[in-house]
C-alpha cells in the first residue's frame, strides 16, 4: 500500500533521502506541518517570520546605538 508524504516523513525508510535529511539534522516534523498548510497559509507564515526577523534586527540596531551613545 502506498504511503502518504506525511507517513514517509514520519517513518523514513533506512537508506532513503528522507532518512539522510533526518540524519543531517532536518526536523522532519516541521516539513509535515508545512505540508498540512495551503500554499497561501505557507506564505502567511513566511510573512510573519519575516516580520519577526525585522523586529529583532531593529531591536538589535537600537541596542547597539544605545550602547554607543
Amino acid at each position: 500500500m502506498k504511503r502518504t508524504p506525511e507517513e514517509k516523513l514520519l517513518n523514513p525508510k533506512p537508506g532513503s533521502k528522507i532518512a539522510a535529511a533526518k540524519e543531517f539534522g532536518i526536523d522532519l516534523t516541521l516539513l509535515v506541518r508545512q505540508l498540512r498548510l495551503t500554499p497561501e497559509q505557507r506564505l502567511e507564515e513566511l510573512q510573519s517570520a519575516m516580520e519577526s526577523m525585522e523586529g529583532i534586527t531593529k531591536a538589535r540596531k537600537k541596542f547597539r546605538q544605545n550602547k554607543i551613545s
Binding site: K2, E6, L9, F24, I26, L31, Q34
Partner: protein, 162 residues
C-alpha cells in the same frame, strides 16, 4: 522585508510572465526555510518588460547598490540594459533574474515549474527538482545546506517508493 501578497498580486494582475524561484519557492514547496526577499525569473521580451514596469513602478524600484543621491529611472530601457536586478522597493526587496544558474532562461525555468493558486491567480513556481538543480549549480554553502531538505521533500511527494 517583502510584502509578498502585494508583489505577487501586482505581477499577476499585470499578466507578467514570471516564475517564482529562490526562498519563496522553497517555502511554497513546504520547506521550513525563511527568506526576506522575492526572487523571480522573467521573460525578456519587450512586451513582458513593459508589463514588469507597470507591475512594479508603483513601488518605486531602485537598484540596491545604486547611489542614493543619483536619480534612477525604472523603465523598459533600464530593464533592457542588464539581465539580473536586485531592487529595493517600497514593499521590500525584489530580485529579477533573466536566467537561473543550472536551469536556464525563462522558457526553460517555466518548463521546470509547478502552478500554485495564489490570491486567485495561477502562479508559476520553480519545481522542487528545478530548485535542486539551481541550488547545486549555485554551489554556495547556503544553497547546499537546503539540498537535504529539498531531496527529502521530493522523495516524500513522489508517487514512487522503493
Amino acid at each position: 522585508m517583502i510584502e509578498l501578497k502585494k508583489a505577487i498580486k501586482s505581477l499577476s494582475e499585470n499578466n507578467v510572465d514570471f516564475v517564482i524561484v529562490g526562498g519563496v519557492a522553497l517555502k511554497l514547496h513546504s520547506s521550513a526555510y525563511v527568506t526576506l526577499d522575492l526572487d523571480f525569473c522573467y521573460a525578456r521580451t519587450k512586451e513582458n518588460l513593459a508589463k514588469i514596469v507597470s507591475a512594479l513602478e508603483p513601488f518605486n524600484p531602485r537598484p540596491r547598490d545604486f547611489p542614493e543621491n543619483l536619480p534612477y529611472f525604472f523603465d523598459e530601457r533600464s530593464l533592457q540594459n542588464a539581465t539580473n536586478f536586485t531592487f529595493q522597493t517600497s514593499i521590500g526587496d525584489i530580485d529579477l533574474l533573466g536566467e537561473v544558474a543550472g536551469v536556464g532562461t525563462y522558457s526553460e525555468v517555466k518548463l521546470m515549474s509547478d502552478i500554485f493558486e495564489l490570491y486567485g491567480y495561477d502562479v508559476q513556481v520553480l519545481s522542487i527538482s528545478g530548485l535542486i538543480k539551481a541550488k547545486r549549480a549555485a554551489g554556495r554553502t547556503k544553497d547546499l545546506l537546503v539540498l537535504p531538505e529539498l531531496e527529502a521533500l521530493r522523495e516524500a511527494l513522489s508517487d514512487d517508493e522503493d
